[in-house]
Each structure stands twice: as C-alpha cells, then as structure tokens.
Symmetry: C3
Subunit: 267 residues, 3 copies
C-alpha cells in the first residue's frame, strides 16, 4: 500500500536559494511517497509570530494525520529545543520558540498561561536515529525537522523520537484581553491585499460593535469587502480583519503587524 | 486504483499568505491523490484578463482530463455565478467574470460574439453537496471552487454540480480586429523577461509585415530573440510578441498590458 | 507498479508567467506519475553560474535516480547543444553552456581542465522521438528538456536520446586557486538572508585562518551565525560563507556575486 502522507512546509527560507529544495530532497530520499505541500516560504526572515499565524490558519483544512513542519529558527545552534507535538488535528514539528503556540491554542491543545500541553503529546527531538548526520549547526530544517517528518510519514513511532515534554514555549503568543467590555488584540498579519488580520476571533465579538485601530474607527461589521470605504469584517480565517474597499488597509491606514486593535460595544 | 488526477491552480492570492495552502488542504482532505499543480499565484490582484491569459496559455499542454481552477474574483460575495465548463480539452472552474473566455475561445468552445458555449457543457455551481460549508462570503476559492474540483477528480458527476448554463460572461476578452488589411490587438501580458505578449495569433500574420506599438515600429518577423535590437517574434505560446535583445521591451519601450498593437503588410 | 520518479526543476522563468506550468504539463502528459519538485525558478535571468550553484547544492540530497532539469538558456535557438549527463548521483539535463559543471565537478564526474566527463556518460539530445514537436526555437525547456526527462522517468533508454559526447562546456566554472598558501575563490551566491556563499570548500581550509573580501577581513572560523558581528563560517552547503549577525553581509559589506575571496593562514 502506498501512503501519500501529507507534509506541509512553512519557512522563512524563500525560494531563491537551495534550502527548501535540500529539505525536500532529504524527505523524498527517506520516503518517495511523501506528499510535500508548501504553505509559504516567504515568512519575513526570523518572524516567528507570522509563521505561527500561518500554521494556525491552515491546519484545520488538512487531514488529521497531516504533518506540519515549520522552520523559523533564529536560535538554531543555541540550546533551544527541536520539538514535535502530536495533537488531535495534526502532528506539528518546529523549534521550541513559540511558533507552534497559535496552532495548538486554536485547537485546545495548549494552556496559554503556562505553555502546558493538554490533549496533546510533546517530545524533544534528540534521537539521532531519525536525523540526518552529521547535523549542521545552522540548518536543522534539513537535518532534524524534515527527516523526522519523513520518518513519521513512513510509520516511525512518535514516542521514539525523544523524551516527552510537558510544556512548550509560548512567549510569542499575543494574548487577547477583555476588560470592562473592551476587547484588546493585535494585528498579526498583513495579507497580499493589504488586509490587516487580527488575533481576535469572530466568535467573541458583540453583536453591535465599534473597532478602533491607529488612524481609523469603524462602526459595525460588514459581510463583504465592498460594503464601505473602510470595513471591519470576519474574514475567511474566522478572525476580525480591517480592510479598505478596492485598496490596501495597510497602506491607506498605515497599519502594520503588532498594532493594537480595540473592540467595544457600539451604542 | 489510484487516480492522480491533475488539478491546476491559477490565482491572485500570492504565496505569502495562507490562502493557497488552505485551498490545497481542502482538496487533499477530499482526495489524497489529487495532483495539485501551481500555474501561478502571482496574478496582479483582481486582474481577470491576466489570469485568463495564463489559463489560455497552459491548457493545451495538459491531459484532456485535467481540471483547471482559476480564482481571480473581485465580485466574490456578489451575484456573479461560480461556474464549471467541461470542454474537449479540460474542465475549467472559475467565477463567471470572463476569466475562462480566452481558454475556451482558443479551443473553439465559445462564441466571442455572445458568450455561447459550443462543443462544451457549462453548469452553475449551486449544489452545496460539493461545497465546503458554511461557504465564506469572501473565499469561494476554498469553499466552492476547490471542493468542486476535488470531488470531480474522484468521479463526481459533472451534471450534478448544478443547473446547466448556455452562456458565460466574456466581457474581458480583448478582441482582435482586422480592417483594410490592418490587424489591431493588444498587449495581454508582460513576462518576466519584459517581453510584451499580444493576443494576435501567429497564424493570422501576413508573410511580410510591420508591427507598431507605442514607441516602436518593427519591420519583419524574427526567428529568435537575438536577431535584432527590437524584434517582433511569434513566441512559444504561438502569439506575436515584442522583445528587446538582452533587455526588457516593457522597460525600454514603455510597453504595458492593454497597449494597442497594429500589424500591417510591409511593402 | 507506479513509478514516482523525481524530476527537479531549476530555471530563470519565474512563477508569474505560464512557462513553468507549460513545462509541467508536458511532463505530466507523458508521465502522470512524475514527481515534479521545484528547486527555484527565481534564478536571475540568464545567470548560468547561479543556476549551476543551485543544482550543485541540491543533488546530494536526492535519490541517485532523480532527474535534474535546469534551464537557463541565453543561447536557445543558436547552436549550443541540449545535453543529458548520467552520473553516479543523478541524471542531469540542461543546455551545454556550463550550467552542469559545478554539480558534476562536485561529484567527481568532470575534469575542470578540459570538460572531459569521467565516471559519467553524456549524450546530445537530438533524437526527436523524445521531443515535443514542432520544437519552438525559443523554448527548449518545454519542447526538449522536459519531454526527455519525462520519457527517462518512464524508462526510456538513456543512450537512445542521441549520440554520446565526451566533453561538456565548463567555461562558467569559477576555479578556486591556491598559491603560496593563499586560497583565492569567489562569491557564487547571495542567499535570502544576505549571506555571501563562496566556491571555497570548507574541507580545504587551514585550521587557523584569515578571510578577506572587499570591505572586511575576518580572523577565525565561527560555528554559528551569532558568534560575532561579521563571521566566516562553513555553512550548511559545506562552503565558506561570509555573514553578518542578524543582518545582511551583502548589504552591510557591499558583497556581490563574483567578488574575490582570499583565505590565508592566520598567525
């Protein structure tokens, strides 16, 4: 039986260089049948939060046995751990630098207060049987993360990858806070169209609301991007977005990743 | 039997965001064996004509049972129809906004005068059995077009997708006109090398000719890009192109999409 | 038996246009099971040396039966030969313009002095049975290189592709010279992070060294990118690199492809 197990890739390596193709070669050399799917390699260099947003935005659309590899790794070669987390909806492989927190929080596999895994198992990737050797000090994507993913895709035992861990780093998670009826979140991604995507779930919004960002206040939610000059909308990822009709909210309002967004009940 | 049915993707979603990976996840969740091939995701945002050019430029190289999904969809959420067209050389799935017209015209499956399908069957995609639910008002690529393509790839009945349609929109088609021996067309694409590709087929050119665009007139066709400083050439897509030797015609002559091109017999 | 034979692609065609998708369609029309893997399509237009570097950087990670197609082809339509080389670690298909030299040198399949193939067989691709016809004078990637690769992937006889050749062009190879204990090489690639990758192998470096490039001299090798402001490091590809901590060596030192790099013993 062939097993076309899916392995998704999210990195900041770009596609001008040989890095991504090297990773794919390593995976295919272990498993000819691996089904490699690019999420994005255009993460801003070393932007862990952006990679975290991307992984959190795609896992729900993949089969539960998909393996998601994400490598944005400014600490490569230092003592940050390489980890894998087996959750109900996917296996996630990355450096332990907060990258996986948004995806795991979104599926209820992590406590944001202390980084405790819940309904999910974690391991530190130290069993070199599943690594490419020698491991380069600068390219764990090729030498640890991808070989581990490929071995898992061919049936390696998750718990043989290394010792179990109970907590993961979740520093990079921008928490959404609610106080006195005001919700405060942040812009976590600017998409290609210039829409500013926040970390505020559409599920927590009051029925009548006012959304404020630097340079604009919008009253009411719209159902599509054409409804007004500046719209607040629950986008396709289920989060609150700020958009400008036929234009770029990022450019026209000066929005950028990290900007605060507040939502209050409109009167 | 495994069925590695090909599904090509052409969008303006870029590869920095999660949109394309979400679409691929939806397809693979329906059919693990779908063979997803990217045409381009770098269509200029909302440029229907450019997407139409790309699809028209690639269908002929694919097997006739390939499924071509193209999503450049400024009208998403309005009353434009989502459609599929089953032609002799491929199944085409897109919003009904003119995107499919160039590909269907090129294979004789459409009348440019009134958008009537000929030797091809069309359906409006309203059977929600084949959609992802709930359908987002802003992302039919993920919720309608890709699930329909994936279900077709596993054997769904084309005529069960929705009611038949006889006409499609073909507003975006730039017609080539011939009058008094002068052929008038337009630049439909500027490629990476700066070559200006027109919608004038190499098959209709007179044996000795003069080609005029803004800023240049070229006498005679060349057989390769090195033949002269500025060349008129029938490029690999079979259309008339304007190119500059070892340079960019777009930059050096100031050519852009939409510019008029006239061809007349040279004396 | 299905054969998911790997075909890698390295070109300067970009992903905005239809060229790469046309090549993939041609391959899949010949072999539905071809496993097409993109190395990069963002090679600087007509930069043969950069494409050569990329192919040389990835073959070692792929199975030995992988087929590597590389098309950077300023001489298309002239009398440069289309060739294939069957080496111990891969089959390589490209125009005979020096592109394949770095990969073949690296695996000991080529003599740099005169371009003689050793432990490798070469053929000139003239048997039109394996081409798409008619062959466009401007797009051999689609009409010769990819069809040949796809036919090989389904079992075509290598020696039926055309007459054997004993030498290939290796003009583009920047040789590394050593004289009086000083090693002289060049920068062959600037990666996404601005690291300047040289053609000097880490294996030939003296234990204590001084590395000089335009604008900087570095004493000693570092083990990771964080060790100092400017570091000399043997990167993941095994070659000497110049990097700037949390920055771009290319921008901050003004380095570019072709710059000379000298290594001498430090006292």
């Amino acid at each position: 039986m062939t097993s076309r197990r899916i392995i998704t890739l999210t990195t900041d390596f770009g596609l001008r260089d040989h890095y991504v193709a090297a990773m794919k070669g390593v995976a295919l050399d272990i498993s000819m049948e691996a089904n490699l799917i690019d999420v994005s390699h255009d993460v801003e260099p070393q932007n862990i939060a952006q990679a975290g947003f991307l992984v959190a935005s795609i896992w729900a659309f993949y089969p539960d046995d998909a393996i998601h590899v994400a490598v944005v790794d400014p600490g490569v070669g230092t003592n940050r751990k390489p980890i894998a987390v087996h959750a109900a909806h996917g296996i996630f492989i990355a450096p332990d630098n907060g990258l996986l927190a948004p995806a795991l929080l979104a599926q209820g596999a992590l406590q944001s207060s202390d980084g405790l895994l819940t309904h999910a198992a974690g391991v530190e990737l130290i069993n070199s049987t599943y690594h490419r050797t020698p491991v380069s000090p600068t390219f764990h994507g090729r030498d640890i993360f991808m070989p581990v993913a490929a071995h898992l895709s061919t049936g390696a035992d998750f718990f043989d990858l290394g010792p179990m861990i109970e907590h993961i780093v979740c520093d990079q998670v921008s928490n959404v806070r609610e106080e006195s009826g005001v919700i405060r979140g942040t812009v976590v991604h600017i998409d290609r169209f210039g829409n500013a995507i926040t970390n505020i779930s559409g599920a927590v919004l009051p029925p009548r609301l006012s959304v404020s960002v630097v340079g604009a206040t919008v009253v009411g939610l719209s159902l599509d991007y054409q409804a007004a000059e500046v719209v607040a909308i629950v986008g396709s990822s289920g989060s609150l977005e700020i958009a400008v009709r036929n234009g770029s909210a990022a450019e026209e309002l000066g929005l950028k990743v990290g900007d605060e967004v507040t939502v209050s009940a409109a009167t």
